[in-house]
Amino acid sequence: MSKRKLKETSSANGECISQVQRILRERFCHHCTTGKLFGIDQQYKHLLELLKRTTLHGESNSALIIGPRGSGKTTLLNHVLKELMEIKQIRENLLKVHLNGLLQTNDKVALKEITRQLHLENVVGDKVFGSFAENLVFLLEALRKGDRTSSCPVLFVLDEFDLFVHHKNQTLLYNLFDISQSAQTPVTVIGLTCRQDVLELLEKRVKSRFSHRQIYLMNSFDFKQYIKIFKEQLSLPAEFPDEAFAQKWNNNIQVFKVLNTFSRKTFKALRAYKLMLALRNVTVHHPLVAVADLLEASKQRSVDSQANIVHGLSVLETCLIIAMKHLNDVYEGEPFNFQMVYNEFQKFIQRKAHCMYNFEKPVVMKAFEHLLQLELVKPVERPTVRAQKEYLLMKLLLDNNQIMDALQAYPNCPTDVKQWATSSLSWL
């Protein structure tokens, strides 16, 4: 295990801790481009060269960056752009247009946004934006007028590229790609998407105009690489003010990483997010991260939300859920209605009247509706006005395993109820 709780003056520690927290938070939460990219050198170079050629040679291009969520697509692009912007020639020439499929939900909005970001709207005069058709003609004309050597290159970044595909006729994509394939203003269209099948969504004409450059981000790291990333992410930078503390912190990280094998099972899921939870525990009295903290955090992260809800239910509601579980077992997952659940519950009460109070039907109904609201049960079809509430068909949204686990953890659960849960037949 690691060293922990080194006794130091808490005031000096406090300052360091808050600084550490600030640094790490910035690193994990903001899309800052200070960190290093890991393991995607090739993609990085490819993209960098591509954009350089656009800006320096005026060559039109199009490319897609494809990778699962959290694989660093945007980070990659930001890094590349940051490096490009350090070249003066590029900084002064490049025009950038950022579009997001979640914001620009149709071509009309997207066109306006492009016009705005290109600062072309003032050219239109006092009539800021005309109709959709006018805008399109306007923009196309603007882009057509340029030529390779004299116009500023324009970089179009389409975030959530797959959503643009659903626009009517894919007009925007067609036109962007068409410009990139004709002797007009040099443009580069970069699409970011997590869908692997995005090319199949493109219409054949659009597809033909797309250059088929795809940059895949796969994150196929093995465990050692993950450990390395992990260490790098957690280590404090060299310019940290309190050197002694920084060294101690870093040493600690080194040590406990080697020991730590906890995250083997899910190490590939998401890189850094679970660390946030662990870091919450770093306080004045507990200045260094320990393995236990990480385990705790990992547990918190993987906790089953539905089962958590079950913990807070009343005994009656728990009984109803158990009744539903038995119904599911008997009828093999067929939907049930309230009446069936009530009958099942009644059977249990009659057998074990001594330990359970026999609730009135309306009370049980109320408990049932509460479960409905918590979405532990769900109607099969939308409730209609005519159908009586008691006979609406329902489905339970909990698995047997979840119910059993939840009951294990349920505080003060009556033994009879627990027994009933394990077997509906034990009382026969």
Partner: protein, 826 residues
């Protein structure tokens, strides 16, 4: 003032029997006139004459003068055989008579004392070359001379005239006369410019003449306004007109003067002149007055034209200056009232303008099309005195759209006073967005030139790099070319349907055809035509096609429905001077609407008798007419079809090689490999070029140290793999542990149930079981949900919306075999 210029022009008039042939010569004080021989006049009724024109050396384009190979004395004129000039002129425009003596080519000019009155003709000029006079004409001319005797005749009368007469009162009559004639010439030119957009036949002829590149202004044309048929006015004797004008002047006098003054002022006239407004025009009571006024206005520039010859050095002045002409003309109106000094400066400025005009004409000779804009400019300037200051050269030279507004006023043709002021402000208002010229800002650093052979190759391989000729599409090119050419020559319309998969060069070929045709038209081998291009993908709505076509044709911006009616009116009514229109409709299938009225109209117009519309429709599917078109639409489209086959590998190879044109950037085998791959896949030339481009990058990347920079097969293979390899296998292999287990669980569940669909709950049970087998800690349902949604986002799985939770149904988006293959290797 009189020392302006030395030029000679002969006005010859045709008279009807009453007056015999005469030659008028208007050379005085170094000013220029136009010469013509009067063949016929009819003084009694209509006072117009038919003339045979003579041209002076100054009217011959500079570049043709060399043909003479000799010095031309200023007293020599040429028998003009250029067609296209109007030989019917108003008698009023005749200034005076001069003697023209025909000489044999060998003869030298006799020395005559009366140099101002005598001219000699040795050769004829037909616009292209000089020829000796035919004996026939020679004798005729001789005869005419005899008949005529030697009394020069002045025939000053015309609406134009009055102004000049007034001037004349102040100056020597001769000069005045000359100026008048000049004015006329100028006017004619202007008129012709106007007419370019008008539909009247005669006008069109004028414009055509101009387009033909005659250097001389339209001097020889008949004056529109003077022609007897046009308006009652023209019948008035010069004196009458003068009086009339005077009246007008009296009424609107102050304003008129003001106006003129202002313009001259712009050109540097004395500042004391007051500004003029547009309103004065509206004051004119009678349309006639207005007309005459406008006529005179037009004339004045000509005066200047005379003078201008002297100042020809100012060649550097651009078309923009033309704008000013209009003002000047207006200025000339004022002479009625203003003292001489005004006139002087007006003259001066006008001279400059005239020079411009001549310059312009030269330009026109070279470029027919360029003329239109300029004519526009002059036109608009004459009409919009107020706003002209706002004119930028750009606009004048470029925007044909200007046409739209002035047009209406032009149509009324007589320039009613009320209309002009109202209309004129329109084009210049900054508000109208159509004037806006959107542009991407220029880059502040120049683009780098390709530094090595690979970069050069990459540049040439870019799809946008248009090659000089399209290899492998010669047959298609010829077919389309022949089709359009034949229709052009016949002056009829027609449709052609072109189909082919993407990237087979349909649009490029059509563009190539059009380019060749345009070249041919420029060389006068074909009738000229206009080319319009619309693209279904670049329209927001099929009906927008109307709007775009109309905007191309006339520059008007209207709504779709209105545009449709205007277009059908345009194409269905006879317009004899209409040029043929070639319309290319790209991505035709996107013009489909439920009623198909857009397609119907497009294909219906060419069948109209007068439409002269040729449509080249392009789409991807060969059987589009049968599949999506109604019978009536398909029938109108006709059976002229052509389909572009996908490129074969040999063709692709040829395309790449021709683009590379002997550059040693690619190995032969590499080119063949990529061609074969693409030909087997799609035959899409774009793809082929993209792969090559990517291969050069890979090559460059790989061979940074060693300098053997030739793209080899390995590079091509890598590029192809990169572009076409399925991403799924890789995605699965790089997925996280639980994601892989989840996929395995899905496979197991599918196998168990025998159905290729499962609920999450079922998969979950399998997953837990698998985890137990492999000794892993089994995940909770929430984690499984997260895994599932991640896979769903990558589209490895197809999942329902997650609100169904455990009952959400899950399917694989790829084949089970692929999943097994991907998972097995691990």
């Amino acid at each position: 003032m009189n020392t302006r210029q030395q030029s000679k022009r002969i006005y010859a008039w045709f008279g009807r029997p009453t007056s015999s042939d005469r030659k008028l010569r208007t050379l005085q004080y170094k000013q220029q006139g136009f010469f013509a021989k009067i063949l016929l006049t009819n003084c009694a009724q209509q006072k117009h004459a038919i003339v045979q024109w003579f041209s002076h050396i100054t009217e011959v384009p500079q570049n043709k003068r060399k043909l003479l190979k000799r010095e031309i004395p200023r007293q020599e004129v040429f028998f003009d055989q250029v067609s296209g000039y109007d030989t019917d002129i108003a008698v009023e425009t005749i200034i005076k008579s001069v003697t023209v003596i025909p000489l044999h080519p060998g003869e030298t000019l006799p020395i005559v004392l009366n140099t101002e009155q005598t001219f000699y003709v040795k050769q004829s000029w037909d616009g292209k070359c000089f020829k000796p006079l035919s004996p026939d004409t020679f004798s005729k001319l001789k005869e005419a001379n005899k008949k005529r005797g030697d009394s020069p005749k002045f025939l000053p009368k015309s609406p134009l005239y009055p102004l000049d007469v007034i001037c004349a009162l102040e100056e020597e009559t001769e000069r005045v006369v000359q100026s008048v004639t000049k004015n006329k010439d100028v006017e004619m030119e202007i008129e012709s410019k106007h007419s370019a957009s008008k539909s009247s036949v005669s006008k069109e002829r004028h414009s055509r003449r101009i387009a033909n590149g005659m250097k001389t202004p339209t001097a020889r044309k008949k004056l529109q306004l003077n022609s007897p048929t046009k308006s009652p006015q023209s019948k008035l004797s010069g004196q009458d007109v003068l009086e009339l004008l005077d009246d007008c002047g009296a009424a609107s006098e102050p304003s008129a003067t003001k106006r003129k003054v202002k313009f001259t002022g712009i050109l540097g006239s004395p500042p004391k002149m007051s500004c003029r407004n547009d309103e004065p025009k509206s004051k004119f009571g009678s349309a006639e007055c207005e007309q005459s006024l406008s006529d005179t206005i037009r004339l004045s520039p000509y005066i200047k034209a005379r003078d201008s010859s002297k100042e020809e050095k100012n060649l550097h002045m651009k078309e923009d200056s033309i704008c000013l002409i209009g003002h000047q003309k207006v200025g000339s109106v004022s002479p009625v009232l203003t003292p001489r000094s005004h006139r002087k400066c007006a003259l001066r400025t006008s001279a400059r303008i005239a020079e411009q005009i001549s310059l312009l004409n030269i330009l026109e000779a070279e470029k027919e099309e360029d003329f239109l804009p300029s004519s526009d400019a002059s036109y608009s300037s004459s009409e919009e005195e107020e706003n002209e200051v706002l004119y930028t050269p750009k606009r004048n030279s470029k925007s044909r759209r200007l046409f739209s507004t002035p047009k209406s006023s032009r149509k009324s043709s007589v320039h009613t006073p009320a209309k002009t002021p109202k209309k004129t402000p329109l084009p210049t208002t900054p508000k109208t967005p159509r004037n806006a010229t959107p542009e991407i800002p220029k880059r502040s650093h120049v683009a780098q030139k390709p530094a090595n052979i690979l970069e050069e190759a990459r540049l040439r391989l870019h799809v946008s790099a248009v090659p000089e000729s399209l290899p492998c599409r010669e047959e298609e090119f010829q077919d389309i070319y022949n089709f359009v050419e034949s229709k052009l020559i016949d002056g009829t319309g027609g449709c052609m349907y072109i189909s082919g998969v993407p990237g087979t060069g349909k649009t490029a070929t059509v563009h190539e055809v059009i380019r060749c045709l345009q070249q041919a038209a420029e060389n006068d081998e074909l009738p000229s035509f206009q080319f319009i291009e619309i693209n279904g993908m670049k329209l927001t709505d099929p009906h927008q096609a109307y709007v775009q076509i109309l905007e191309f044709l006339t520059g008007q911006k209207v709504t779709a429905t209105h545009a449709a009616t205007l277009l059908s009116k345009l194409f269905c009514t006879p317009g004899p001077k209409r040029k043929t229109t070639v319309l290319m409709v790209d991505e035709l299938d996107l013009l489909w609407t439920r009623k198909q009225n857009v397609m119907y109209n497009l294909f219906d117009w060419p069948t109209q008798k007068h439409s002269k519309l040729i449509i080249l429709a392009i789409a991807n599917t060969m059987d589009l007419p049968e599949r999506i078109m109604m019978n009536r639409v398909a029938s109108r489209l006709g059976l002229t079809r052509m389909s572009f086959q996908p490129y074969t590998y040999k063709q692709l190879q040829q395309i790449i090689s021709s683009r590379l044109s002997n550059m040693k950037a690619f190995e032969e085998d590499a080119i063949q490999l990529v061609s074969r791959k693409v030909a087997a896949l799609s035959g899409d030339a774009r793809r082929c070029l993209d792969i090559c481009r990517r291969a050069t990058e890979i090559c460059e990347f790989a061979s940074q140290k060693n300098t053997s920079r030739v793209v080899r097969m390995a590079h091509i293979t890598e590029a192809i793999d990169e572009m076409f390899s399925s991403p799924y296998i890789n995605a699965i292999r790089s997925a996280s542990l639980h994601e892989q287990v989840f996929l395995k669980a899905i496979l197991a569940e599918f196998r168990r149930a025998g159905v290729e669909e499962a609920t999450l709950q079922q998969v979950y049970h399998q997953h837990v079981a698998l985890c137990r087998i492999e000794g892993m800690q089994s995940p909770t349902v929430s984690e499984i949900m997260a895994v599932c949604s991640r896979l769903g986002a990558c589209r490895l799985l197809l999942v329902e919306s997650s609100n169904k939770y455990l009952h959400m149904r899950v399917r694989l988006n790829i084949s089970q075999d692929d999943v097994m293959y991907a998972l097995k290797d691990e």
